[in-house]
Amino acid sequence: MHELVYLGLNSVGIITVISVFMGAVITLQTIYNTENPFLPSYIVGLGCRDSIILEFSSTITALILAGKVGSNIASEIGTMRITEQIDALEMMGVNSASYLILPKIIAAVLFNPFLTLISICVGILGGWGAVILTGAMTSEDFIYGIQYAFIPYYITYSLIKTVVFAFIITTVAAFEGYYVDGGSLEVGRASTKAVVFSSILILLFNLILTQLLLS
């Protein structure tokens, strides 16, 4: 429960803020780059929805969480390692890896899909807000576009990616933190490595999963 709050609930704020701006910017860019009389205006809503569901909410959210949660996990476990707290756990007969890492993986894998769903909803609302505030197109067309040709499988695809990305973020960060050797400098390096490696793996698996799930 503690991990759910620590790793999941505490990320709702940043995900909401980023998603609302992301949705607004995608919508405005689509409007200004599809000013063509042969294209129906509702295509903006459709494009905004599919971009957010298919890519932005799952992947961008994962990259942000790799920075926020990944560095947090690596530095927390790394500090426990260099201050001998992990040795103390082992001394007490506790399987330290299982005790420290497993709850974090479970929390992230369970909660991150909700973050993605929140990001999708808030992102689309952000786009709608941008339409209303700028008046660049009619609100009715945007809402029609959002409802047009909706494919529910895209949500499933996005959530599958989110679960895989959550696993990557927590395991890579925990690995880097768990095997820290040295002092505070090494903890900092482990934290950076956790973010870099998990980000690269997220992008790589994004490619692989897209090919596997959408081909």
Binding site: M80, E84, Q85, E90, M91, G93
Partner: protein, 251 residues
């Protein structure tokens, strides 16, 4: 009783324990002394299984500890308590939760019984009214005491202390030493204390082992240590100018 037979340990090309054979008696405070980097901590961590030895045997009474499987080692570890150099209290837990942690993990006691045991252990190390404080709010001496309370919460047969006095003022250091000695006698534990503090040696050293560059160089009592012929030991024991003066005046 803990017996270590011919253990060797290397990190890459560097040999840190070289054919170490030593025994530690129960009901006594066994001290391992030596310079920084001499191999004391590695020896202690090898004994408790935090480092795997390359060769040799480590016996806890009649059990060959280093040949046990994971579960076997975990069972023996439930009978161990350890005080780490930096106390190693869990930052996110309060004093009470830290001391209660081993009880939560390994006993079926009721919450009330656990609290009673926690309060008993904290009282035994003279920590009062600090149950809800976090480690960051404690002084160095208090952290050591809480760590000792946590180490004795399961009534261990074996107690390991890695430089319990590091970072403490001389008076607090003597109090911590005295506490370790009292607890050792009270619970008839096999206690091993790593230190390079000569005050500790003279206060609580019943059996002393001197280690240098990973080798056991000398063993004896606190009375014998002042009259040893071992040159490396004498360099260590009489390292400061006051000790040198006392020794020359003694001669």
């Amino acid at each position: 009783m803990i017996r270590v037979k011919n253990i060797n340990k290397s990190f890459y090309d560097k040999k840190v324990l070289d054919d170490v054979t030593v025994s530690f008696e129960s009901g006594k405070t066994n001290l391992v002394i030596g310079r920084s980097g001499s191999g004391k901590t590695i020896l202690l961590k090898s004994i408790v299984g935090l480092h795997e030895v390359d060769s040799g045997e480590i016996w806890f009474d009649d059990v060959l500890f280093n040949k046990l499987d994971f579960n076997g080692k975990q069972e023996i570890r439930k009978e161990m308590g350890m005080l780490f150099q930096g106390s190693a209290l869990f930052d996110s837990l309060t004093v009470e939760q830290n001391v209660r942690f081993p009880l939560d993990m390994f006993t079926n006691k009721s919450p009330a019984e656990k609290i009673d045991r926690v309060n008993f252990c904290l009282k035994r190390v003279d920590i009062l009214n600090a149950n809800q404080l976090f480690p960051a709010e404690l002084s160095g001496g208090m952290k050591k005491r809480v760590a000792i309370a946590r180490a004795i919460s399961l009534n261990p047969k074996y107690l390991f202390c890695d430089e319990p006095n590091s970072g403490l003022d001389p008076i607090t250091a003597i109090l911590i030493d005295a506490l370790i000695k009292e607890l050792t006698e009270e619970y008839n534990m096999t206690t091993i204390v790593n230190t390079h503090d000569m005050n500790s040696v003279m206060e609580i050293g019943e059996k002393i082992t001197f280690i240098d560059e990973g080798k056991i160089c000398w063993e004896g009592t606190k009375h014998e240590i002042l009259h040893s012929d071992c040159e490396i030991l004498n360099d260590f024991v009489f390292a400061n100018s006051l000790a040198k003066q006392l020794r020359s005046s003694d001669k």
